[in-house]
Point group: C2
Chain length 158, copies 2
DNA sequence: GTGGGTGCAAAGTGTTTGCAAGTGT
DNA sequence: ACACTTGCAAACACTTTGCACCCAC
């Protein structure tokens, strides 16, 4: 993400906050800075950890109270990969149609887009009498490298 | 679902159970009968209710202990529509790759399959160094009929 | 100053599990 | 008989919320 994208996503959110007449507390600012300076998918707990590195006083409750604001603003999307916790995706504003491959071995999440698939989805949906509003593809996969070599070089592979 | 499909899905599961050396208790039978006599997507709680109509002694714990067997057998699939509870889909055995259109107007869930999309998904996943294990597409859509006519004839349209 | 915001801890919610009693094979 | 199963209730993991204090505006 370029410095300009960073600036604009964060500023969009600040404008959103201001538009709702909400306040800019130091804790919220720490959370916002954290969210808009990463490209990774994160969980509520990770966001708490990272935010606390910026401001020790951030509490779990404030993180959980801020997340709905982020998703409501449209700048972060909530993803459910079937794990016990939700993931949050800060790349949504730039790529609203991106899809996910979730590696069962690594827990790695890889994103992809495909215009061809989008076109097919649109066609099928239309033929069934609906108009496509949003779509999402989740692919659960295995790491081929792991299968072949017995290990996998993704640094967070377990 | 035809009577034959009904018979075979249930029998497949009974064979699966037997193959694992597990027992056929009356409670399990009530749950199994329930699952394989519906085409609807259901939640754990609904399955408990329905099963209790067949056998009052079925407990929540047994339902939760049976669900993993059902998904493990491949005859029922676990679906996450982003709600707080999981849905289970008993149509999986016949159509292992089916996808869902969720109508925002009707709350109707329509299923579809597409070999073309499957091929594209497989290709993309492979190119990224993974092998596709399972996939799932969710399309949130609007009802075109509703948009044009101001109402929609789906009987459960709200 | 005031109304929204915060941390803490308790409460919720859906799901899982330890245990002693029960039951299919 | 034996090992698998069950119901119950307690335990869990993640998320939400009530409350009294706090602070951005």
């Amino acid at each position: 993400m370029s410095a300009e994208d960073f600036k604009s996503a964060k500023e969009k959110f600040l404008a959103f906050i201001e538009g709702k007449g909400l306040r800019l507390t130091t804790q919220r600012m720490a959370i916002i800075d954290t969210v808009f300076s990463t490209e990774e998918h994160f969980t509520a707990e990770q966001l708490l950890d990272w935010s606390r590195q910026r401001d020790q006083s951030v509490s779990r409750a404030t993180v959980y109270r801020t997340l709905p604001l982020l998703t409501e603003s449209g700048l972060v999307s909530e993803m459910d990969f079937g794990k016990d916790h939700k993931y949050y995706d800060p790349n949504y504003a730039q790529h609203p149609n991106h899809n996910h491959i979730i590696c069962q071995d690594c827990d790695r999440i890889v994103e992809f887009e495909s215009e061809k698939i989008e076109r097919l989805e649109d066609e099928i949906t239309h033929n069934l009498g609906f108009s496509l509003k949003t779509q999402r593809i989740q692919i659960n996969a295995n790491c081929e490298e792991l299968k072949k070599l017995g290990s996998c070089r993704n640094k967070d592979c377990r």
